[in-house]
């Protein structure tokens, strides 16, 4: 595994470098004292994981994550113990290490990273298989850029006022559009509106409880009126 370290404190970088040096299959490609340098590096290079300080002057770790087009797995390193819940809202974040980091805790993090990388590999493999069957795409307009998304990569579409959030496995795209408008473009064979604010790709459902479905890490409410149609579409035993 290849990694980079991003932290404005030299002492913190030295500590993470030392922790990494004890993991035989983890190579540090580079260390950066600010987010901008790291972004420049990532525009030309790929890594498996970033150890990222969340609290940096000017450009925080979260700003950094939001800037990356295809972020790798990220482990946050921080002195703040109360940030964990917010941190896990971001898809690429696999762990959250509170400084000072111990070797034991760091090794647990490495196990999580490896697990996450393994799961990604499986997802890519399965997506490749699916894409041979369905080559349909949709273009979404973000800041005057048209971004192509494969329909089978879309997990959930959520209405957010005048916007919609199109959630894929890798990231969430915020688009100035309505749920009604995107619903017309999505194939009924795989997409279904299950709540006034949510359309789901029902082939991605992991499990269903009484009033909600789980897709990846997203728990989506099911409205009472939409539940019968969802149940009808599922391949129930």
């Amino acid at each position: 595994m290849n990694c980079i370290i991003v932290d404005d404190e030299a002492t913190a970088r030295a500590i993470v470098e030392q922790l990494c040096s004890k993991i035989s299959d983890l190579n540090i490609i580079d260390s950066f004292s600010n987010a901008m340098e790291a972004i420049k590096f990532l525009n030309q290079n790929t890594v498996d994981v970033i150890f990222l300080d969340i609290h940096m002057p000017g450009f925080t770790g979260i700003d950094f994550i939001q800037t990356l087009k295809n972020p790798p797995r990220i482990v946050l390193t921080t002195s703040d113990t109360d940030f964990a819940i917010e941190a896990y809202e971001y898809e690429p974040i696999v762990d959250y290490l509170v400084k000072p980091i111990t070797q034991d805790r760091f090794e647990k993090s490495i196990i999580k990273i490896k697990k996450a990388l393994k799961n990604s590999a499986k997802t890519v493999e399965s997506k490749t298989l699916q894409s041979t069957n369905t080559e349909e795409d949709i273009y979404i307009n973000i800041d005057r850029r048209l971004i192509k998304l494969k329909l089978n990569e879309i997990l959930v579409v959520e209405a957010k006022g005048d916007y919609i959030d199109v959630k894929t496995i890798q990231k969430t795209y915020r688009v100035h559009n309505t749920l009604k408008s995107i619903k017309e473009k999505l194939p009924e064979s795989t997409f279904l509106q299950i709540h006034r604010s949510f359309i789901i790709n029902f082939t991605k459902i992991i499990d269903i409880e009484d009033n909600s479905v789980l897709i990846e890490k997203n728990v989506i409410p099911i409205s009472r009126s939409n539940r019968p149609e969802l149940m009808r579409r599922l391949n129930l035993l």
């Binding site: 404005d8 404190e9 030299a10 002492t11 913190a12 030295a14 500590i15 030392q18 922790l19 040096s21 609290h55 002057p57 002195s79 400084k99 000072p100 111990t102 070797q103």
Partner: protein, 106 residues
């Protein structure tokens, strides 16, 4: 009793790796006086947001040096600075003097 700084965490992390211990000491000897100076300038200019950012960086070093009680004070101080309150300046400055003196003698 007032806590005194030590390198227990760093020694544990280093194990037999003396080179890391030496490198780390050199880094912290360089960083603490710089950040202490930044702190003094920020508080003197009454820029409390910037002061809070520097306290945030310094509080990590308090943890590294096993100053758990001083770390707790720094956590409170950082929060208070962000609310516009700098009354813990004197106590925090005393802590800074303590770690500065310690690292100078490493």
């Amino acid at each position: 009793m007032e806590q005194q700084p030590n390198l227990n965490y760093i020694k544990q992390l280093a194990g037999d790796d003396k080179a890391f211990e030496i490198k780390f000491i050199s880094v912290i000897k360089e960083e603490i006086p710089l950040e202490k100076k930044e702190y003094e300038n920020a508080i003197a200019s009454n820029n409390l947001k910037e002061t809070a950012d520097i306290v945030h960086k310094l509080k990590h070093k308090l943890n590294i040096l096993s100053l758990t009680e001083d770390y707790k004070l720094a956590v409170t101080y950082e929060e208070e600075l962000l609310r516009g309150d700098k009354k813990l300046d004197t106590k925090f400055s005393t802590i800074l003097e303590k770690i500065d003196a310690y690292t100078k003698n490493l």
